[in-house]
């Protein structure tokens, strides 16, 4: 299946660049030069420019006047800010989702969890979590809140999830350096299973479970040393 025609070049390039930023091919702060991108993707500079404008739309790139675009910078403060918002919004979206979700929603949650459970999380020699797992993970969290009846809330949480994904990818890159992950030693698969079971059972405690899940992930990310060692 060619994921090609039927859409504009800008949209295609935007999709490619978004993926490159999310999987860390383009690193935070890196300048996004028009001529270079135009050449490597065999497209006009105008197309690159508009694709970058759409990246900026999702807070994945920033524009400085007369200096062009660059990949968005990362910081401990920003990761904390993103997480605070996700704990508020994604939790509320989940609350609404288990309230309004129908059988099709339940089924999608179970299905996406199954894909996530079967995905290979790490490659023994790879650079971190696999693309397969990242995609499945994103799809699962997306499915959980899909039945929320506030479209704007979904759009915002999707954007925040993208922002957080950059940090996860960054941590993956550092994984081989820092020996083991952390003392607490999480069982992430178990957390996901719990989310799936509570959600499909319409148990309101799933909301707090998600909040803990998000908070732990951020704590681990910060603990993994992507911002340099934590202050004493």
């Amino acid at each position: 299946m060619a994921t090609d025609e039927g859409t504009t070049r800008v949209a295609r390039l935007h999709h490619i660049l978004r993926g490159d930023v999310l999987r860390g091919v383009l690193t935070p702060g890196q300048p996004l030069r028009l001529a270079a991108l135009a050449k490597t993707h065999d497209v006009s500079m105008s197309v690159v420019r508009e694709a970058l404008a759409r990246l900026a739309e999702g807070n994945l790139a920033v524009l400085t006047p007369n200096h062009g675009y660059r990949v968005v910078e990362v910081s401990r403060e920003d990761l904390v800010a993103i997480t605070e918002l996700r704990v508020i919004l994604e939790a509320d979206a989940l609350r609404r989702s288990i309230e309004h979700g129908d059988v099709a929603w339940e089924s999608a949650v179970v299905a996406s969890h199954h894909v996530l459970e079967r995905a290979t999380p790490y490659l023994s020699d790879g650079p971190g979590s696999t693309q397969e797992w990242s995609d499945a993970h994103s799809a699962f969290h997306s499915a959980l809140i899909a039945a929320c009846d506030n479209p704007r809330m979904l759009a915002i949480t999707r954007q925040l999830r993208d922002g957080a994904e950059i940090y996860r990818q960054l941590s993956d890159g550092n994984l081989r350096a820092s020996s083991t992950t952390q003392a607490g030693e999480r069982d992430i698969a178990a957390e996901h299973r719990e989310l799936m079971e509570l959600a499909t059972a319409r148990d309101p405690r799933v909301v707090e479970a998600l909040q803990r899940h998000l908070q732990r992930t951020t704590d681990d990310l910060i603990g993994s040393g992507i911002f340099g060692e934590p202050r004493h």
Copy 2:
């Protein structure tokens, strides 16, 4: 003072178009034709296109592939969605603001409230609330939450506020048609004064006061008949 040089044409046009959408010069659903806009604003089509891309960034315009941009549509459901999010996020931003705000913040709140209080809300023959009042109103709400320590939260609430402003402007356009505003007969100035006083006193009840304020505004907007008469 020329608000002209020192910035790019795209940025200038974006600022103009954003204002036109917010004050209802460009009406919801209206197609934004490149050639026409390029001619009236005396710039190239590329500039228009990128300015529109930035409008879409703030959810003020939408792009359909091969059909170009148009002003974002409005609906009762969307206004409700925006309000739900504002009640959650703007309230939390205010809670953080009264917690972290310093004297400079207090001063800015008092100052912006003073400007709002002195602004002429309506012109007897005008099309609705004055631009002066709208700007002052926006500045006041912005000042209230300015001391929030989560930049992303501020960015999102600003975007939501823009979205809501379209509906307010729409209601203004209908004002002369529907005789009086509503039965409840609000004293909006009093509500703003209460917000100002509670906020500068760091009274936590200001959070609920803001939530009530936002909810009432939306209820009035819906009651004003901008979506046609409310279902019986």
